[in-house]
């Protein structure tokens, strides 16, 4: 009998332990899902900010985008707006969103954050950027696969935009990224994990640029970050050449001039090999791009079904690709002097002894490095007609 009793006592203890608990359980409708977060540096704005605000302690201005759940799902809700945008100011990121919790009646949750937006001012501030990246890495709530974009302008504006097809900007950005990945595009998708890795390796990185429209958002080009500081922006054309090196199977379209016309060549597969010639500071980097694709637009009267025409077209396209790449390389070499395409990393792998010699003044070496760009184009398919 006493054995039974002692068992019962143990069970009581366990049950009472369990019942006091539920430390972590938060009802799902009591959470505020931050779908996207825009982090920017705090700059005192007379129109918006309280004059009594302690500007010394305010370093961040963070915008949180939270969906209005019933409306989002399609039911009748209390408010008509599909989402709520809230801005909060604080010293550290945690500080900032805790400040937000005093204004929102729900518990802030980052588990469903779908994208992060970095403001221009933030990117210019080295210290803040370093801290931001650390927070994002350390906190396990931020999935390391979420897209990051750099906003040339106001983060708040970007998050207030209401695209027709998807009210939540965060999800919209994520879908843009998916689109880009599958269909080729104008930027290189960067996830949080990728960016962190870039920063850790050589403190440089490219962040896709987001520009704000009236009813939609556009991502193209990139922000060039060197040493945790924003150097400048690459526009679409400047970035495009780099994308040949950065992405595998870069499925974009090339418009190559051919006599009076422009023909459209759509890439289906692409692969870039990088080799190094030379053994000292005057190394030459050879970029070899192999491309396969289809001709999508030609000329109505002319016949494409001849080998010679095909060869001519291949030449033209090849030239176009090489031009693109050279144009971009120029931009990063001369204008920004930043090795954003990770040539250094490849050199380290391929010729470790050379790397040892040059790694200390890599910036200079990179600036003056000579690139030989060669493209090899194969036209595989020409469509339905001749």
């Amino acid at each position: 009998m006493s054995q039974l009793k002692s068992k019962i006592i143990i069970i009581y203890i366990i049950i009472s332990f369990l019942l006091t608990g539920c430390w972590d359980g938060i009802d799902i409708n009591r959470r505020a899902f931050v779908v996207s977060m825009g982090i920017d540096k705090f700059v005192f704005d007379e129109t918006k900010d309280d004059p009594n605000l302690n500007t010394e302690l305010s370093r961040y201005r963070i915008t949180f985008s939270i969906p209005n759940l019933p409306k989002f799902v399609g039911q009748q809700g209390i408010s008509e707006e599909p989402k709520f945008t809230r801005v909060s100011v604080g010293t550290t990121i945690s500080n900032t969103y805790k400040a937000l919790e005093s204004r929102i009646n729900k518990s802030i949750y980052f588990g469903h954050t779908k994208s992060l937006l970095f403001g221009q001012e933030l990117l210019k501030d080295k210290i803040l950027l370093k801290q931001t990246m650390d927070t994002l890495q350390r906190n396990p709530d931020f999935g390391k696969a979420i897209p990051v974009v750099a906003v040339e302008g106001s983060v708040e504006e970007a998050l207030e935009v209401l695209p027709d097809t998807q009210p939540m900007v965060g999800i919209y950005i994520m879908e843009l990224f998916d689109n880009n990945r599958e269909n080729g595009g104008f930027f290189d998708e960067k996830s949080l994990g990728d960016l962190l890795q870039n920063f850790e390796e050589d403190k440089t990185g490219l962040i896709p640029r987001l520009s704000v429209g009236e009813k939609d958002l556009k991502i193209e080009g990139a922000a060039v970050i060197k040493d945790y500081e924003l150097q400048g922006w690459l526009d679409e054309r400047q970035l495009k050449g780099l994308l040949w090196i950065l992405k595998k199977d870069y499925r974009l379209e090339i418009s190559a001039p051919y006599d009076d016309y422009y023909i459209a060549y759509n890439v289906s597969e692409s692969n870039t090999k990088i080799e190094f010639l030379g053994d000292n500071e005057e190394i030459i980097c050879k970029v070899l791009v192999e491309v396969e694709g289809n001709i999508d637009e030609f000329i109505l009267d002319e016949n494409i079904f001849e080998l010679e025409t095909i060869r001519k077209l291949e030449k033209v396209i090849k030239k176009e690709i090489e031009n693109e790449i050279n144009y971009s390389l120029e931009a990063i070499q001369e204008k920004y002097k930043t090795d954003v395409i990770q040539i250094g990393k490849r050199l380290e792998r391929k010729k470790p002894d050379v790397w040892k010699k040059v790694k200390d003044n890599w910036d200079e070496v990179f600036e003056n490095m000579q690139f030989i760009v060669e493209a090899k184009v194969n036209i595989r398919r020409i469509g339905q007609s001749k």
């Binding site: 430390w23 972590d24 962190l196």
Partner: protein, 367 residues
């Protein structure tokens, strides 16, 4: 005929070993390997596996010589009773401390990923009580549970690895073999200490029903885990690169989160996959508790093992709460590892084996 006598089959031994070895290392191993030898870390792991196989071999030979004795008995036989008891008590202390810190690490991981606000005491004590429940059911129950947990734990891991292969950039592992050889050797030794669960074989003698195949079983188990570790290190390095692997505290977990299962129903599956890791840790903890109580039983020659299990709980619980935070825990684990782990893996079994052979004790093994 069966199973009332607490004996387990060879396959079960293998499975249990795999689970125990796996739990200890798999989360941190790529990081440790990268810290030691950068991108050649995986080579160190190969070396570590070879060393571990060697340790396993010695221990297996020793146990096969004394088929019905645990470490307590045969160390007393070989090196006289006081020494034997002393060694056994040392083993108890080592196991207790190891299990406490493992429990603490486990608690930290769970708290960080799954339950941020829950007090760690609850997490630790619930796991402890569950392990005790299993231990009280007997070693056989543990073996059977191991067979089931084996599939639950390992199939997702292997699936994740296969799915991650497209993301692996093998160039991250280059250049190969730039690290100097002494460093690799030292690294191999260091990493082989993570195979510390092998010492549990020392205690498993009387529980087996077929000693002949023990060598094969431990060989298979160590090899299997070794290969798994190497693959995981390669993949981690390939996906994160050297620096990335070094900075993550738990690289394997983040790896699991990166997998994109087409048409997946669950996002952030790293959390789900964590649960599988928890299961293997559970296996290890229940093994340790079982063995601690076994050793105590054998030393005191008392009849009832189950009785001793419950009193162990407060001890382990208190010890596990001693370190202040995970940094201190990690420090203490490193301390234990450098000075203690090796002890029972190699020198003591070797000495015992040699002395036993010299004194012609135990049953000789037919080749």
């Amino acid at each position: 005929m069966f199973t009332k006598n607490d004996k387990i089959s060879i396959r079960q031994v293998e499975v249990l070993l795999i689970l125990d070895l796996y739990s200890k290392a798999i989360l941190f191993l790529p990081r440790n390997a990268a810290e030691i030898a950068n991108q050649d870390g995986w080579i160190c792991l190969i070396g570590a596996t070879i060393l571990a196989l060697f340790y396993g071999y010695i221990i297996t030979r020793l146990v096969k010589r004394f088929p019905n004795d645990t470490f307590v008995e045969f160390s007393s036989k070989i090196l006289s009773k006081p020494v034997g008891i002393f060694l056994s008590i040392l083993l108890i202390i080592k196991l207790t401390v190891t299990v406490s810190f493992e429990l603490r690490t486990f608690g930290e991981v769970v708290k960080q990923v799954l339950l941020p606000k829950t007090p760690i005491e609850i997490i630790i004590s619930s796991m402890l009580l569950m392990a005790c429940y299993l231990v009280r059911k007997g070693f056989e129950a543990r073996a059977r549970l191991g067979e089931i947990l084996f599939f639950i734990v390992l199939i997702p891991i292997i699936a994740v690895y296969i799915l991650l292969l497209p993301n692996v950039d093998f160039e991250n592992i280059q250049p190969i073999l730039t690290t100097p050889l002494p460093k690799i050797l030292k690294g191999s030794y260091n990493l082989s200490l993570d195979y510390v669960s092998i010492e549990l074989i020392l205690l498993v003698g009387p529980l087996l029903n077929n000693h002949k195949k023990l060598g094969r079983a431990s060989f298979n188990a160590i090899l299997f885990v070794g290969i798994l570790n190497v693959i995981s290190a390669v993949i981690a390095l390939g996906v994160f690169g050297v620096i990335g692997t070094k900075t993550q505290v738990w690289p394997v977990m983040v790896l699991m989160g990166l997998v994109e299962i087409p048409g997946a129903f669950i996002e952030r599956q790293e959390i789900l996959i964590m649960t599988f890791w928890i299961l293997s840790v559970f296996s290890f903890i229940s093994a340790s508790i079982y063995f601690i109580s076994l050793i105590i039983t054998r030393i005191t020659k008392s009849a009832d093992q189950n009785f001793l299990v419950l009193p162990l709980v407060p001890f382990i619980y208190i010890i596990s709460l001693l370190p202040n935070n995970i940094v201190q825990t990690s420090d203490w684990i490193l301390f234990m590892r450098d000075y203690f782990r090796f002890l029972f893996l190699f020198p003591i079994p070797l000495i015992l084996l040699l002395v036993a052979r010299l004194r012609k004790l135990g049953e000789p093994i037919e080749k």
